[in-house]
Amino acid sequence: MRPASLDTCLLLLGSLWIAHPSRAQEHAFNSKVDVEMGERVFLSECGRCHGPDAKGNDETDAPDLTRGRFKSATTDAGLFQVIRDGIPGTAMIGIGWAPETTVWQIVAYLKSLNVDPGDYVLPGSADRGRDLFYDKGNCIACHMVRGEGGRLGPDLSTVANRRKPEELKADLTHPDETVEPRWWTVKVTRPDGSVVEGLRMNEDTFTVRLMDARENLWHFSKGEVRSIERIETSTMPSAERTLTPGEVDDLVAYLFSLRKESGT
């Protein structure tokens, strides 16, 4: 049982934070217990649409909440409002019937899914990693960082917001393990036997679009080509073959420095 005065106090504080988003990061429900409570309520109330792993759901079109970016909120206070009130005109309904403490605990849980750089002490050097990225590793040939670089791999400008260091290391050393369909390769054989091969930018029941090695964009109707072959491995070579273990650590340290700058 909670004293009534505490409830009133929490209510007032909640209102204050909504009115002053700049103080939103300071809410009081960030303890481990709060995060656990938030996860429990999330699984029960939100998991049906957003998935028990919060990674979204194709059937309901509920977005992935693990990427550190939310479509309808940029602050904790904004998240609180969305969870409490929902988003009018959409399938996102609020849980306004729940105590405000519970709503803050869900906020705390969602924030806990983000990668916090303070949690990691990395063995590598980000400076050395940056040199590798641009020189020996030549990663820049395929990957763009802040508007500079190639287009044949994912844009890495904010990769640290969505990948943990151990995941980045696995991406570098075992690139074939988890390849998003966007980075599969498609080989299209045209009626005259000529072949166009490139990265699978998009595919549906009737068409496919790809980018070839020269970064040309192609569109094909499936009914008008001879065959389409899908290659689900990565086009990136494993860093185990091209870099030393120490260099891999350096590259991970650099990649883990690539995050959304606060306020942007």
């Binding site: 699984l43 109330e45 019937w97 998003e180 369909p181 009737f206 689900e232």
Partner: protein, 528 residues
């Protein structure tokens, strides 16, 4: 008044919207220029006798009009068309009447909703029913409303259940005689499901059949302890009716909590079942349970398709049912006897069906705290997406998915009005890795006749027509027509957003039109 009559006469048209009597509904197949109920006809075949659009000319279909629903939700509406007027339901619980030839509105009804709704899966509404000059619509606050079809005025508003206890209503009701048959959603909130009949004129309840038997009733002992009180078994998709047998057929949803069955040991009757119900009394005539003690959320929320088949030389009044649990079933709809059953989509949870159609469970396929990969996924081998049956080809057309998911188990206490699911499931690979297809099944054997592969998948209902066509859509935003005999693609058009509804066809001024909702837009296509 005289001038109004004169104006109508000068309009060189017959007035729209004649009253829809029960006799018209009984013979809905005979007036294919209209679409008079959710599944087209009482047997729910979703087959139209219109053949002006056919295999030879379907490639010439072009946009006639589009209606934008002023909500950014994904439309699940299946409109009705009555003598040139179309009734479109909108998220969350609204309805608009438009001219079926142009899409231009007559009126709209906006249902006022409370802010504390309990809805598991979106602010959905799938359509209205009509009798006489009255429309009947489910609302998200678990009410059933009657609306004047000419003006949009509210005639009556009946509270079916308390929404604060987790009930909601999304399905299109079914009119049987002078009654409105209507079910409830809430299988993720620990409700006790039921199916109701309401007097169409007054809104008074005629009967209620609980889908979970109470103490002392047969089947209550299939629920451990008090678990029957919160056992779910909702009724959130429209059923069918056989006038000769006077039986209503309705599917029931999952037992609750969805993924944790430890506290509800037993078969959990009548969850995940086909129910046959005496239309006059609301008494259960028979039941067939597809998935006893379900722990994967495989609702038997599919449309019961009624068709008369010759099976092993014997004429059978059959019911065709491709279930979310990935098995296809043919049942005798007079008795509930199991006739045919075999998988139509990938499944790993059962070793097969026994001679009575009961699944033989495979070991090691239950949800666990760590997660256990099982096929089909939560979405099922199919789901609520309307199938179709063509008496011309004698094939059942079903939207099928060969997916898998990792199912989790977790402890959960029941608290009224809060979600009560006991677990969940997550993807183990991109959806692009799995196969999705429109499949044509022979209901005599369950055998696959053809399939049309979809990339990545479809959540669309289907429509079959005498033009030897099957219409459907895809999640990436296509609407298409297939050859009903071969599955060959004959036409497609990009509609820009997911098709999460089912197509209908009808005619205005002799021109056959085809309508589908995609995203939050209702598109209508024609040849001329």
């Amino acid at each position: 008044m005289n001038s109004l009559v004169l104006l109508m006469a000068l309009g060189a048209q017959t007035p729209s919207l004649a009253p829809v009597t029960w006799e018209r509904l009984l013979k809905a197949a005979d007036e294919p220029s209209n679409w008079l109920m959710y599944s087209g006809t009482l047997d729910s075949q979703r087959f139209s006798r219109l053949d002006r659009v056919n295999r030879e000319n379907v490639s010439k279909l072009a946009l006639k009009w589009a209606y934008q629903i002023p909500q950014i939700d994904r439309a699940e509406t299946v409109p009705l068309v009555v003598d040139g007027v179309m009734f479109i339901t909108e998220s969350p619980s609204n309805v608009v009447a438009v001219d079926a030839g142009t899409g231009r509105p007559y009126w709209r009804y906006d249902h006022e909703l409370p802010e504390d709704l309990r809805i598991c899966c979106g602010r959905n509404n799938r359509g209205v029913a009509i009798l006489g000059e009255t429309l009947f619509m489910s609302t998200l606050d678990a009410h059933l409303v009657a609306i004047d079809a000419r003006s949009g005025s509210l005639k009556w508003n009946a509270e079916v259940a308390n929404h604060k206890a987790g009930y909601s209503k999304t399905e299109a009701p079914l009119v049987v005689k002078d009654m409105v048959i209507s079910g409830v959603a809430g299988g993720e909130y620990g409700i006790r499901g039921f199916l109701d009949a309401y007097d169409a004129e007054t809104g008074e309840r005629v009967w209620r059949l609980y889908t979970i038997p109470g103490p002392g009733e047969p089947g209550n002992d299939t629920w451990a302890g008090d678990s029957w009180k919160t056992g779910g078994a909702p009724t959130w998709i429209t059923g069918s009716y056989d006038p000769e047998l006077n039986l209503i057929y309705w599917g029931t949803g999952n037992p609750g909590p969805d993924w944790n069955g430890e506290g509800r040991k037993g078969d959990n009757l009548y969850s995940d079942s086909a129910l046959a119900i005496d239309a006059d009394t609301g008494k259960l005539a028979w039941h067939f349970q597809f998935t006893p003690w379900d722990v994967h959320d495989w609702d038997a929320i599919q449309i019961p398709i009624l068709a008369d088949l010759s099976l092993n030389g014997e004429a059978r009044k059959a019911m065709l049912w491709a279930n979310r649990n990935a098995f296809y079933y043919t049942l005798d709809r007079k008795t509930g006897e199991f006739l045919v059953g075999k998988p139509f989509a990938k499944q790993t949870w059962a070793q097969g069906l026994d001679e009575r159609g009961r699944p033989i469970r495979a070991p090691g396929k239950l949800p666990t705290p760590e997660g256990n990969v099982v096929s089909p996924p939560i979405l099922g081998g199919t789901n609520w997406y309307s199938p179709a049956y063509s008496p011309k080809t004698e094939l059942l057309y079903v939207n099928a998915y060969d997916g898998e998911q990792k199912f989790f188990l977790r402890e959960e206490e029941y608290r009224e009005g809060e979600e009560y699911t006991g677990g969940g499931a997550e993807n183990v690979a991109p959806l692009e890795k799995y196969k999705s297809a429109i499949r044509a099944l022979d209901p005599r054997t369950g055998d696959l006749r053809w399939e049309f592969e979809i990339q990545p998948r479809s959540s669309s209902g289907l429509l079959a027509s005498a033009g030897d066509l099957v219409f459907g859509g895809t999640v990436e935003g296509y609407f298409f027509a297939l050859d009903a005999e071969t599955g060959r693609e004959l036409w497609h058009v990009a509609v820009g957003a997911r098709v999460h509804s089912a197509p209908i066809t009808y005619a205005v001024g002799g021109e056959q039109l085809v309508t589908i909702a995609a995203g939050n837009v209702v598109f209508t296509f024609g040849l001329d």
